[in-house]
Symmetry: C2
Subunit: 344 residues, 2 copies
DNA sequence: ACGCATGCTGGGAGCGGTCCCAAGAGAGAT
DNA sequence: ATCTCTCTTGGGACCGCTCCCAGCATGCGT
């Protein structure tokens, strides 16, 4: 049996290679009747164009890379990445792109891996996430002139990026707590070299200050976005007797609540707890976690759009997208009964 | 500036394309001196061969796919996958292969995705995991004649696969509990359509039966490899007043312990708990979880080896590798003090 | 000194597509 | 009826690399 190539399909459809190619790729300038005939042959034979040939000739691989700058362990335990990958992979499917995942753990040698990768033209562009401030990877990438976008991280102004409105979200949390009459606010931040973590702290601080309730620096503890880290941080914070704690992620919110409870305190009566993300952990606590919702999956789809924009029209300047956040009130700040009253 | 191609490198080194290619790919039949010269040019120019061209000409892409048949959410919350990906990705790097990850969630349309994928020759082969018994994906793959290996799942005998000695491991757990004098054994299994889960149950049952302590069917509860699922299952099991519970994964072990404690019982005095995997969750409980260790990362490296074997020498028949398991005793079965005595 | 292995090296032919350009067929205009 | 112009279509030239094969210069044996 002859190998199934475009040439062969064209032959079977009684047209030329060029015409077959046009028909298959949905380009116009093909008589409908002929297009039909070609597509029928494709259908029957189950022809699928050879990726390498296509990418060699077409100067485009239609593969997008997702580079996550984190330990494998971290990546595979943080629901944020689950949502992000979900969104990205959905968008890739919808746009006929293949997604390839790269986990960049080490800070050294492997660093050059992604750049090498891109030089091979294996991927058309890269979505980069979980980098930290001044990550060498970022400037290596921008220097190499490869199309890429950053997710959840501001980066330099001349780069494409998507992120949630972290400041605004944190401010929502702050105002919510103020409205509840809390005055002794504490916060467990993510690693501050991570820009999202930093902005959440900043937004929280500012919003409080704006209302004349400045955040006591002793009531700020830095953690690492893990439940355990947040637990430890909270244990410390509790010495300062806060009446509300803002955790920079839901996962940390879980740790915070556990620590509060273990200290014999009640949520939300003694200490109101609020998280960030609105991912699955927020629903697994008792009471459920009030949180600032960010559309994680959408972060992913927007990232894909931005990247394709960069790949397809490099001349269009990069742009930055900020997605809105919303407050989701649950039992960790407002007891159920009371909430119903509020709703009314 | 001229584009950096093999041709150009050859020209700079003053040799032919062929020679440059041989030098770069480490093939022999190149005078050492010439090879040096070529490699120097490569070094200086930073030449990286074009992936598509290479794969088109060489009939091999050097990309391996990892297909995980699970919800994104599940994948990104199960430490088992973290370890597996770690192992696979390490092995890929070591063998100069690129890893591409495919999450296959839906059971329908997207099912054909991997097959389509492979038809494009984008990946040379696939590592498949987390499939279930009679998963259509498996026969689709074997029918399509694409090289692939299965991880942690027996599959048909004529397929390459790696998995831990699940039966043996479960038997280790059983015997350990027996030695501790427990007689009222219970177990929380994984989803039984998953072959690993099924074998762990089987191994546990058989080992107990062999010692004349048959497993009471009412003390078997099926869960879904999640902590929550195991918690719920355990709540039920506790009605039967077991004095030991074998959880088919560490993550489930955590749920089991939580349920036991919430029921006001003590671990290990009232109920001994034992897990499977020896992954991070086992260390996060108090007391730490005794568990059956399987070398998850090694599962990954072996998978890559097997797959490359299939890809490179299709004529060699597929083979099945079973990795040994070991028992790791911790506080959830034997209190620290007592353990020290044992060690002595 | 001559023939013949042996070892390197260079050239050419693809791999399977995409894209550009020229040629052919109709349709509309004059 | 002739000439354009537009719409399709086919052919050829690559894309950048690998692989095969022929050509050449050595080295050796005799």
């Amino acid at each position: 049996m002859t190998k199934l190539t475009l040439e062969r399909v064209a032959e079977l459809a009684g047209v030329s290679r060029s015409t077959a190619s046009r028909a298959i790729n949905g380009q116009d300038g093909v008589r409908p009747e002929i297009r039909r005939r070609v597509l029928d042959v494709v259908e029957i034979t189950g022809f699928v164009p050879h990726a390498a040939a296509r990418s060699l000739a077409g100067q485009r691989s239609n593969i997008l890379g997702l580079a996550i700058r984190q330990t494998t362990e971290q990546v595979f335990s943080d629901p944020f990445f689950a949502g992000l990958v979900q969104g990205i992979s959905g968008a890739c499917n919808a746009q006929d792109q293949t997604l390839s995942l790269f986990l960049l753990q080490s800070a050294d040698g492997e660093d050059r891996l992604p750049v090498r990768m891109l030089r091979t033209k294996l991927v058309d562009g890269l979505i980069v996430t979980a980098t930290f401030t001044d990550d060498p990877l970022v400037w290596q990438l921008s220097e190499s002139g490869i199309p890429f976008v950053m997710v959840g991280e501001a980066g330099q102004p001349d780069l494409s990026s998507v992120e949630a409105d972290n400041d605004g979200g944190a401010a929502l949390a702050a105002r919510h707590l103020l409205e509840l009459g809390r005055r002794h606010m504490a916060t467990v931040t993510g690693p501050l070299r991570n820009s999202a973590a930093a902005r959440r702290l900043l937004g929280f601080e500012r919003a409080l200050a704006a209302e004349g309730v400045p955040l006591d620096p002793r009531l700020v503890a830095e953690a690492d976005f893990t439940e355990e880290g947040a637990y430890a941080a909270t244990v410390q914070l509790l010495d300062g007797a806060p009446d509300a704690i803002f955790a920079a992620s839901d996962r940390m919110g879980v740790g915070v609540m556990r620590a509060v409870k273990d200290a014999g305190l009640h949520v939300p009566d003694d200490v109101a707890v609020i998280g960030f993300d609105d991912l699955s952990p927020a629903l697994e606590t008792e009471p459920q976690l009030t949180t600032v919702r960010q559309e994680v999956a959408q972060l992913g789809t927007v990232a894909v759009d931005l990247l394709l924009e960069r790949v397809r029209t490099p001349e269009v300047p990069p742009r930055r997208v900020e997605l809105p956040t919303t407050l989701v009130v649950r039992g960790s700040t407002v007891p159920t009964a009371q909430r119903e009253v509020l709703v009314r």
